[in-house]
């Protein structure tokens, strides 16, 4: 079954066609990669799906919802959570608070929460319990009350993942999750992403530059170039596909290869 279906999406920035009729279909339960050279439109498409970017033509359907009218804050309510390319945490807050904000869509009545009514307090206790469990799952229990700005890079990445998963999404959108990571950290994060997919049955859509990660975790990838689809398939085949090699390395090198 398809969880997410993107059909003929166009985004133009003035004269620049960032996306020129892109199609992507993400099957439920997969780890799906979105790759392509710089400027291919990966991040633009990612932002269209997560609703941070409007599109002028085409459709994006997610579990029967047409996302065209959705705002950025509506995505998480239907089960799509995202992370950011460069870590984007609530810097003055603790690990626990960051995860709790991730559960905002499960807050219930804002009035009951604000006035500390019994129902609001019960919900708050539930959320705190779940946030602690989420922290435990990501090995963050020891830094629960620490301000996130003071945490090491690797921890911050995990806080961001835990925060995104706190809403219990069915689709997790990752924007270059290993940007700035060394080989060891990349391998570790890859394992974490696979575990999220396997153990929590979360479908993952990942935009990534790092081909070692793509090869290690993706079931299927779509390659974009100049805002168009150029190939689709399993990572092992796709990375040797002539059109993909050409897009990354240029025509002459491809001809000699």
């Amino acid at each position: 079954m398809d969880l997410l279906a993107v059909h003929g999406v166009h985004v133009h920035f003035g004269g620049l066609r960032a996306l020129d009729g892109v199609d992507v279909v993400v099957p439920s339960g997969s780890v799906y990669g979105l790759i392509g050279p710089n400027g291919a439109g990966k991040t633009t498409l990612f932002n269209c799906i997560s609703r941070f970017q409007p599109y002028s033509a085409g459709t994006i359907h997610y579990r029967g919802h047409d996302l065209g009218r959705f705002g950025p804050h509506d995505a998480i309510g239907v089960g799509m959570a995202r992370t950011f390319q460069n870590i984007n945490l609530f810097r003055s807050r603790s690990t626990l608070d960051n995860i709790l904000v991730g559960m905002h869509s499960r807050l219930g009545s804002p009035l009951a929460a604000m006035l500390s009514l019994p129902s609001g307090r019960r919900r708050e206790d539930e959320l705190r319990l779940r946030a602690r469990r989420m922290a435990d799952m990501f090995g963050l229990t020891d830094v629960l009350d620490q301000q996130v700005v003071h945490l090491p890079f690797g921890y911050q990445k995990r806080v961001e993942l835990a925060r995104a998963l706190a809403s219990e999404p069915t689709l997790l959108l990752l924007d270059e999750p290993v940007a700035g990571c060394n080989e060891e950290e990349t391998r570790e994060l890859g394992e974490i992403i696979r575990a999220i997919n396997r153990d929590l049955s979360v479908t993952v859509l990942v935009v990534e530059h790092d081909m070692s990660l793509v090869r290690a975790i993706c079931d299927e990838v779509t390659v974009l170039d100049f805002g168009r689809n150029i190939a689709r398939g399993a990572p092992a085949e796709i990375l040797n596909h002539p059109a993909v090699v050409e897009a990354y390395l240029g025509e002459t090198v491809a001809a000699h290869a």
Partner: protein
């Protein structure tokens, strides 16, 4: 005892002391303190918006005026007293705050500060020129009573104390709830907040409305404390500046800080006596000094001292809104 435990214990001690205080001080000082309470209430409102939500306002004097004139006009035409005035004044200020919030939705940083300043100037101009408000002549309010009981200096002190406690309690309840977390999240990163499902438009306007309602309640008490309102006080923007100064000097995102800061801006001109005009300079100096040397305000400095006394690792805490980011959206 945990840091949180200490905070709660100290809060109880402070309120206990404030409850007992009128029995040992002359009634004149009770009056000065209840005047301070009106500023504290206003500053708590400003803090919710500027300290916690990160939306800088230089216009809350306008909401203070709306509260004050609502109750003054009600007292004059309907003969009402403090409690109905509080309900109506806070409600009206909240509604206007909601409207201003919608208008200012797309603004942040310095642009928002200027827009709110414009709001305060507009309120001042309306008060000065619309005959209903009687300009510099002003409106007299009758003797004060609360729930049918006549109150004088000491009685009014307790009215002020109760309202201040209620406003602080409400503010505290909001801040530690999921809604307060959403306010703070918007301050730290709007994009991430949106991705977590926080509706920026809704939450910003709600923050504006609640903040305005609280400051409006302060204005209501102010009018009854002075038993007089006129554009001498409400015609310019100094109140707005005072409230922002109180919040920044006292400590952004700290209720205790709002109380300290409000006491500072009230007491300085009072103790300067004849030299009270120098208060403007002193406030300015305090503002700059705090932003340069202790961006988390006096409350932040005291919190660090407390932590050191408790022998805890006094880790440097990043200022909630540092001086650099105050000027940006």
């Amino acid at each position: 005892m945990s840091e949180r435990g200490w905070q709660i214990a100290l809060t109880f001690v402070a309120f206990g002391a404030l409850l007992a205080l009128p029995t040992v001080i002359p009634s004149f000082y009770a009056s000065l303190l209840s005047f301070t309470f009106t500023y504290v209430i206003a500053a708590v409102g400003v803090n919710l918006l500027t300290g916690y939500t990160g939306l800088v306002t230089v216009g809350h004097g306008g909401f203070f005026a709306i509260g004050a004139y609502t109750t003054a006009l009600m007292a004059k035409h309907l003969g009402t007293s403090v409690v109905p005035g509080l309900a109506a004044g806070a409600l009206l200020a909240g509604i206007v705050g909601f409207g201003l919030g919608i208008i200012c939705l797309r603004l942040g940083g310095a642009f928002l500060a200027i827009a709110t300043l414009g709001f305060a100037l507009a309120v001042g101009a309306i008060l000065n020129n619309w005959p209903v408000f009687e300009g510099r002549e002003g409106i007299q309010l009758g003797k004060n009573s609360a729930l049918g009981v006549a109150v004088k200096d000491v009685g009014f002190y307790y009215v002020g104390l109760v309202v201040m406690a209620l406003v602080m309690l409400t503010s505290w309840s909001i801040i530690r709830s999921g809604v307060g977390r959403a306010f703070i999240a918007m301050r730290d990163s709007e994009r991430a907040a949106e991705a977590m499902g926080i509706n920026l438009r809704l939450y910003k306007t709600v923050a504006f409305a609640i903040s305005a309602a609280m400051t409006g309640a302060g204005g209501v008490l102010f009018a009854h404390h002075n038993r007089y309102v006129s554009t001498e006080t409400f015609g310019d923007t100094w109140l707005s500046v005072d409230f922002l100064t109180a919040v920044v000097v006292g400590g952004q995102a700290s209720l205790f800080g709002s109380a300290l800061g409000a006491a500072f801006v009230v007491m300085v001109p009072y103790y300067l006596g004849e030299l009270r005009d120098f208060a403007y300079i002193l406030n300015g100096v305090a503002l700059i000094a705090v932003l340069l040397f202790a961006p988390d305000g006096v409350a932040g400095v005291l919190a660090r001292l407390l932590r050191r006394l408790l022998g805890r690792n006094a880790r440097a805490v990043a200022p909630v809104v540092d001086p650099v980011s105050v000027g940006r959206s």
